[in-house]
């Protein structure tokens, strides 16, 4: 490694030092070109024979010539053993990729980063306390970036054309070099501030990725774009640029004149920045789609729950609510479908650079994943019962419940009778207990059947009652919960509202019976 450059490696010819890549070629080369020395050829062949033996030999049979085939078989049969067979190997030639990397990187650093940083620092200095008065502004500019003496420049260094009255000399404000008007650009002060200011890195336009390219190039205004601009811009058109500056100070405030080289560096930096910040359009589409999918997932869980409950004839959830939710899910599904379709054909119309390879594959995969999701989760969802069906379900459930109640009551009776037989002494007490209990049951049944939610409205007159207040509260909550598709909450709140209503009713009845 120490004399790295001197050291040659490979299958070298010992006479002419050429690298022959393979031993076979080396021997052939020797036979052809150095045939005059058969001794060497012989030793060479011997050398390879030995090396070959050494490589292919296995323990204790160095004399024996082992063919490649058997050695291969041997290797297959016992891999460990094969490895043990090797002598400890010396470290071969190493190559430092870091050094190679730094070499490549240094060039870039010098060419781009260091140079660009210098420009940014200068731009920052230029912008700092920039005088609005054109003359002092010029002094300010020159104090930061010394201008090249324009007498020493005969031709425009970029386009190599000579300067004359119509093609005047201009100084780049960032490197001080002299260029012709066509080889300079204008950088608006506002844009310059954005470039320098680290906090203003991301602006709204970064969100619409399509315009990125055009936006960056739009920051640099081609100096010779229009005659009017040319005539009015500070140090161009007119012979006496200072006078023109005085004449049009507002103009001079808006731009810095840069040479194309500086402009290129700055633009490159902006593009890098932009690339780091802006997400590719496909990401944005995908994120949007993901959010739809998440939302749909959440809703479909709720929907399935509601649907199942409704099909059982329960009244926990509202049929209309479920229908709204279904519509909502359908809309989400539509959106997902649309957006995934858009992803799949993203860039297809771009004739010059259509998506291909992994990009295309990714796009198609996203689309197929979305369709699979739609098929599995959203399109397969059970249909809701119609109004009539729902009524039937409810009826069936009510019957089942009645049967159950009947059954339980019978069980209770039997239990009671059994107990009655067992405990003759306590019989009376038990019966009276039971009578009370069953009477309670009956009363509740009547009351709740007679009073639905709507029947509470006429009592609203005494709105000072806390219960009334709370009922109004609950109604507002229910509306909110429903808007938020929180149907579990709707159910709880509705239950509570019913509780309040029955409590209120009972209270009123109690009062009226008292009086």
């Amino acid at each position: 490694m120490a004399e790295g450059e001197q050291m040659l490696e490979g299958f070298l010819c010992s006479i002419c030092k050429t690298d022959l890549k393979t031993p076979h070629q080396l021997t052939k080369h020797f036979e052809e070109y150095h045939n005059d020395n058969p001794e060497i050829l012989k030793t060479l062949k011997e050398l390879y024979g030995k090396a070959k033996k050494k490589i292919l030999k296995h323990e204790g049979s160095s004399e024996e010539l082992v063919t490649l085939d058997t050695s291969l078989k041997y290797r297959e049969s016992s891999l460990d053993f094969y490895y043990n067979d090797w002598e400890p190997q010396e470290l071969g030639e190493t190559r430092s990729y870091t050094r190679y990397f730094t070499e490549v990187r240094n060039v870039r650093l010098e060419r781009y980063s260091a140079e660009t940083n210098k420009l940014i620092i200068r731009l920052d200095k230029l912008l700092n306390e920039l005088p609005s008065d054109p003359i002092s502004r010029r002094v300010h500019e020159q104090s930061i970036v010394p201008w090249i003496d324009d007498k020493s420049v005969k031709l425009c260094p970029t386009c190599a054309r000579s300067f004359h009255v119509a093609r005047r000399k201009h100084h780049c404000r960032l490197c001080g070099a002299v260029m012709c008007h066509d080889c300079t650009m204008f950088l608006a002060l506002g844009d310059a501030r954005n470039m320098v200011n680290p906090t203003l890195v991301q602006d709204d336009s970064a969100i619409s990725p399509t315009s990125t390219e055009s936006r960056i190039s739009g920051r640099f205004v081609r100096a010779g774009i229009g005659l009017s601009k040319l005539a009015r811009s500070p140090s161009s058109g007119s012979l006496n640029s200072i006078i023109s500056l005085v004449n049009d100070p507002s103009r001079s405030e808006q731009h810095f004149r840069l040479c194309v080289h500086c402009e290129e560096l700055l633009r490159f930096r902006e593009q890098l920045k932009e690339r780091k910040l802006s997400k590719p359009i496909i990401c944005q589409f995908y994120e949007k789609m993901r959010s739809y999918i998440d939302e749909a997932n959440e809703h479909s869980v709720m929907y399935n729950k509601m649907c199942e409950s409704l099909r059982k004839g329960e009244t926990t959830y509202n049929l209309q609510d479920a229908q709204t939710l279904r519509v909502k899910i359908a809309k989400l599904a539509e959106n997902i479908d649309l957006i995934s379709k858009r992803i799949s054909i993203l860039g297809i119309k771009d004739v010059d650079n259509p998506p291909k390879g992994q990009t295309l594959k990714l796009q198609q995969m996203i689309r197929s994943a979305a369709t699979t999701f739609l098929k599995e989760h959203l399109l397969n969802s059970k249909p809701l019962p119609t109004e009539e069906e729902y009524t039937a379900f409810k009826e069936r459930r009510r019957k089942a419940i009645e049967d159950r109640i009947e059954h339980e009551r019978q069980m209770e009776m039997e239990e009671l009778q059994r107990e009655r037989r067992r405990e003759q002494q306590n019989r009376e007490a038990l019966i009276s207990d039971f009578v009370i209990v069953s009477r309670n049951d009956q009363m509740i049944l009547d009351k709740s059947q007679g009073w639905g939610p709507s029947s509470a409205t006429p009592i609203l007159a005494s709105s000072m009652d806390p219960i009334i207040e709370q009922m109004n509260n609950l109604r507002a909550y229910i509306k909110q919960a429903r808007d938020a598709h929180k149907y579990d909450e709707v159910a709880t709140l509705e239950t509570n509202l019913r509780e309040l209503q029955s409590a209120y009713f009972a209270m009123n009845q109690g009062n009226s019976s008292d009086s």
Binding site: N304, K305, E308, S309, K312, G313, E314, T315, T316, K394, R397, R398, I401, R404, I405, E408, R409, E412, V437, N440, D441, M443, I444, L445, S448, Q449, W451, G452, P466, I467, E469, Q470, N473, L474, Y477, K486, D488, E489, A491, T492, L493, T495, N496, R498, E499, L500, S502, A503, A506, M507, G510
Partner: protein, 221 residues
């Protein structure tokens, strides 16, 4: 009147038709009680939305909020009833603590009266709420330590004597807010969803509600 209370208790604790028992989801009814302006709503707002308002409006009636907490393999959904502390709403409170599996009784550590009120709430709960209700005592406004009137030890001793969970909380700094809810969630029984339906039903097993919705203690859904 008694009849109605019993009905409501079993109704509100009744098992919700959860469709299927996907994973393990527990729903718990939790009620907040305490003197007005001790920070009940702030506590809930902090727990549910992570927000804090310096000037929280006083609650009317009872506010309803839900929050889901994941605990090991179970998902605990709190249905929180944040009651108004003002005396005129006192009559509403039983409606919300009856059938509740958990209650947080809140007092303000800078106000002795609120602590006294909290102890009466605890007594009321022990008397009238479901017997296995989990009660937590929260000494709120712990960020105002320099104005403290109720000593930590005093409250802790009281809580220990009555078997309450106890923490000093601060809705403003979020201190111990999630912790107290989490402690409650841990203490609640997870195996049966309706912690207290059977007991609060006082021996009756069936209640018919509005002719359609029936709830039983050990449900058939």
């Amino acid at each position: 009147m008694v009849v109605i209370m019993v009905t409501m208790a079993s109704r509100s604790t009744a098992q919700r038709p959860n469709g299927s028992t996907q994973g393990k989801i527990c729903q718990f009814k939790l009620v907040l009680l305490g003197e007005s302006a001790v920070g009940k709503s702030s506590l809930v707002l902090r727990f549910v939305k992570g927000q804090f308002h310096e000037y929280q409006e006083s609650t009317i009636g009872a506010a309803f909020l839900t929050q889901t907490v994941c605990l090991d393999d179970t998902t605990v959904k709190f249905e929180i009833w944040d009651t108004a502390g003002q005396e005129r709403y006192h009559s509403l409170a039983p409606m919300y603590y009856r059938g509740a599996q958990a209650a947080i009784v809140v007092y303000d550590i800078t106000n002795q009266d609120t602590f006294v009120r909290a102890t009466t709430w605890v007594k009321e709960l022990q008397r009238q709420a479901s017997p296995n209700i989990v009660i937590a005592l929260a000494g709120n406004k712990s960020d105002l330590g320099n104005k403290r009137v109720v000593e930590f030890d005093e409250a802790q001793t009281y809580a220990d004597e009555n078997g309450l969970l106890f923490m000093e909380t601060s809705a403003k700094t979020a201190m111990n807010v999630n912790d107290i809810f989490l402690a409650i969630a841990k203490k609640l029984p997870k195996n049966e969803q309706t912690g207290s339906a059977g007991t609060s039903g006082q021996g009756r097993r069936l209640v018919e509600v509005e002719g359609q919705k029936t709830t039983t203690s050990n449900c058939c859904k």
